[in-house]
């Protein structure tokens, strides 16, 4: 066998070639759920009528009811490359992965995929609670496209990686959520496709499991396999990928080295500065919670893109509830521009307030978080928001809604002109005692 390094033909080096790919969805009919036969008959009748009277506005209406989730997307991925895909919710990342995994068909354009594609769009797809771990391994493997013989040879490896060997003949409904997840990921991770498409599997599971998954993905990448990796976890993106696509509103807006892409995504490009307003089209269509305005306010009460490290400031989040929501908590995530989490805080973290607000009636609200002075280090920070009822439902999440700059002037220790690592630079109380002369 002749082994070619840096193969001369560019063609043979490509794993994925995407040309002008586009996907259009019909609003209402498809995105908003399913129709009934009566609706379809009514529509058909409407079309027939509009054909008879050409002046009716039906065709325009038909046009307006579609949305391009993805359009004019072109890019190449080389064999062995680990490409990250980042973008906010609804930007079109998942649509792109679904197209490449052939879950759904594109409306226009094409993609050429060289080799077997394995998708980890959601781990545990097809797991049946009544079946044992062993049975689910075979079933899930078959669903992911693994031949039975291949599953047999890798069986012990899969069980070993998932660390569930003593429960292998127990129905998975008796598994803890951690065991379930480990098993599901393990099957998928042993799929060994030429191209692996991964979407947010790391958002779940404990830290130890996430570490293990990232390690496994690193191994897969080192074997020269191609990986497309979608995640909101910016530190995982930076650790695993060298290059990223930034997708916004169905377009690739940037392809760059991961560090640059993450920075663009979190600060310069997509998060807004100082104030973020949610327009009607970016609000979640269903559910009682509707975000309105998020802003960072300086000490004088005006929206600020820059705040001082020594002065207190506040983060205000306005939202409305279409109906009463019980057990609601609204809070913020603070992240550095590199994607490292700083803290998460909710407006009902105080147990007394939580008891006082068992349910919030419908209406417009503002939750304000006071952030003390002499706390954050200098640098750029990103504010995300979340509204949820614990263990019941998450109503809204935008992990990277807006960014602001912290000016370090006057912060503790700035009389030494050196950078201090870490996201916080708190003013802590020190005492110095002389214990011996």
């Amino acid at each position: 066998m002749t082994r070619q390094l840096h193969s001369p033909s560019i063609e043979s080096e490509l794993a994925i070639q995407v040309e002008d790919l586009g996907k259009r969805y019909q609003l209402g009919e498809t995105l908003g759920g399913y129709g009934t036969l009566r609706d379809a008959l009514a529509r058909t009748a409407g079309r027939a009528r509009s054909k008879l009277s050409p002046n009716s506005g039906a065709p325009a209406e038909h046009q307006a009811a579609t949305i391009w989730a993805l359009r004019h997307v072109s890019f190449n991925v080389h064999r062995g490359q680990v490409l990250g895909i980042i973008g906010r919710n609804g930007a079109g990342k998942s649509t792109l992965l679904k197209l490449l995994a052939r879950v759904t068909e594109p409306t226009e354009g094409q993609a050429r995929v060289m080799g077997r594609v394995g998708s980890l769009l959601e781990v545990g797809t097809g797991f049946h609670p009544e079946l044992s771990g062993r049975e689910n391994i075979y079933l899930n493997g078959a669903i992911l496209g693994m031949p039975r013989r291949e599953i047999q040879t890798k069986f012990d490896e899969i069980v070993g990686f998932a660390e569930i060997s003593e429960f292998i003949d127990t129905p998975v409904k008796r598994y803890s959520s951690g065991m379930y997840l480990r098993l599901a990921f393990s099957v998928a991770a042993h799929l060994d496709p030429e191209i692996l498409v991964v979407d947010e599997v790391l958002a779940v599971g404990d830290a130890e499991f996430q570490r293990k998954c990232l390690g496994k993905m690193g191994d897969v990448a080192r074997q020269g396999r191609t990986i497309l990796f979608v995640s909101h976890n910016m530190s995982a993106i930076q650790r695993l990928t060298e290059e990223c696509l930034v997708i916004d509103r169905g377009n690739v807006v940037l392809r760059a080295r991961s560090e640059e892409a993450v920075d663009f995504y979190l600060t310069a490009g997509l998060s807004q500065h100082g104030v973020k307003r949610w327009e009607a089209e970016t609000k979640p269509a269903a559910g009682p919670f509707s975000p309105m305005v998020l802003q960072v306010l300086g000490p004088e009460g005006r929206p600020a893109d820059r705040v001082s490290a020594v002065m207190p400031f506040r983060v205000e989040f306005e939202y409305s509830l279409r109906e009463a929501v019980s057990g609601l908590r609204v809070g913020i995530y603070l992240t550095t521009s590199k994607g490292e989490p700083v803290f998460t805080s909710f407006d009902t973290d105080d147990p007394e307030r939580f008891v006082q607000l068992p349910a919030r009636p419908a209406g417009r609200y503002r939750s304000t978080c006071q952030i003390p002075g002499t706390f954050l280090n200098e640098g750029r920070f990103v504010v995300g928001v979340n509204a949820s009822s614990f263990r019941i439902r998450s109503y809204f999440t935008d992990e990277y809604a807006l960014s602001f700059q912290v000016d370090g002037t006057g912060a503790p220790g700035t009389h030494w002109p050196e950078a201090r690592s870490g996201p916080v630079r708190p003013g802590l109380t020190w005492s110095v005692e002389r214990l011996e002369p």
Partner: protein
């Protein structure tokens, strides 16, 4: 990452992803490539059904058996329905076997895509595997219930002739009709959820339109061609003819039934193939 990358093996499959033509139909080759998945989905349906049920395989026997007893008492004894000469229990049980295979298969296949939406929206595979699995899974129950029929035939001294070798033909016709109707209903149910409510009603109508409690010969001669448009008429009468030499079947009428089953299967495959690429967006 331009480090050591070997040449792509010659066999590396290249998949072109693009919008398919309007009338592409069902890709049978692709379905055949995924036959192992069909097997596992079928096996899952069987396993799950037998796993947490008290009687397991007992249900497969009890259901047609109890139905047969009720039918025998009411239709056989009280109403005195003619059976073309065979004992009523054998007459109705022989019909209930293919009917329950059909009924179970169609009702599960018809709602299968909606029930399996987590699969449909997450992984690629030929979607026809989903409705196909419950239809094939019904064969196990059928096999178990068939053993009871053998016992009944021995008990009543009913002896099958050479015609018994034609039984697989009627069984395949049964599966083809189940699959044709199943494909239609499953595809439509993705877009129109009312189909899910219509299925039980449709099956109940078909039950009375099939010669299960009565022989096909009670239908007036003028209406026979219309009556045989229902493929289950041929399946049920065929089972009787194959197993104990029930009444003769006119070739012309048989062709109407078989033609209808084939037509439903072919159109079902086309409609399913046409709709399957948007299942993930719609379901």
């Amino acid at each position: 990452m331009t480090a050591e990358i070997g040449p792509i093996p010659v066999a590396t499959p290249v998949t072109v992803i693009r919008a398919s033509r309007r009338w592409s139909g069902l890709d049978l080759k692709e379905l055949w490539r995924y036959r192992e998945l069909v097997y596992f989905l079928t096996w899952r349906d069987v396993k799950v059904r037998y796993k947490q049920s008290l009687l397991g395989a007992g249900w497969a026997i009890l259901q047609p058996l109890l139905t047969m007893i009720v039918f025998t008492i009411f239709f056989g004894r009280f109403l005195g329905v003619p059976t073309d000469g065979s004992p009523y229990p054998v007459f109705s049980y022989t019909a209930l076997l293919p009917w329950q295979l059909f009924e179970g298969g169609v009702s599960k296949a018809g709602t299968s895509l909606v029930a399996g939406r987590s699969l449909v929206t997450k992984v690629y595979f030929p979607r026809a595997a989903i409705p196909l699995a419950p239809i094939l899974a019904g064969l196990l129950d059928f096999g178990v219930a068939f053993l009871v029929l053998v016992g009944m035939m021995i008990f009543y001294g009913v002896r099958p002739g050479v015609a018994i070798f034609s039984l697989p033909v009627f069984l395949i016709l049964n599966l083809a009709f189940s699959m044709g109707l199943g494909l239609w209903l499953a595809a439509l149910n993705v877009t129109y959820r009312d189909i899910g409510y219509v299925i039980p009603f449709l099956l109940r109508l078909l039950f009375f339109l099939s010669p299960i409690t009565y022989p096909a010969s009670v239908v007036p001669a003028a209406l026979q061609p219309l009556y045989w448009l229902n493929p289950m008429v041929l399946v049920v009468e065929g089972f009787r003819w194959a197993l104990y030499g029930g009444s003769e079947i006119a070739i012309g009428l048989a062709l109407i039934s078989a033609g209808m089953a084939v037509l439903l299967l072919l159109t079902g495959m086309v409609i399913f193939g046409r709709m399957e690429r948007t299942f993930a967006d719609t379901v």
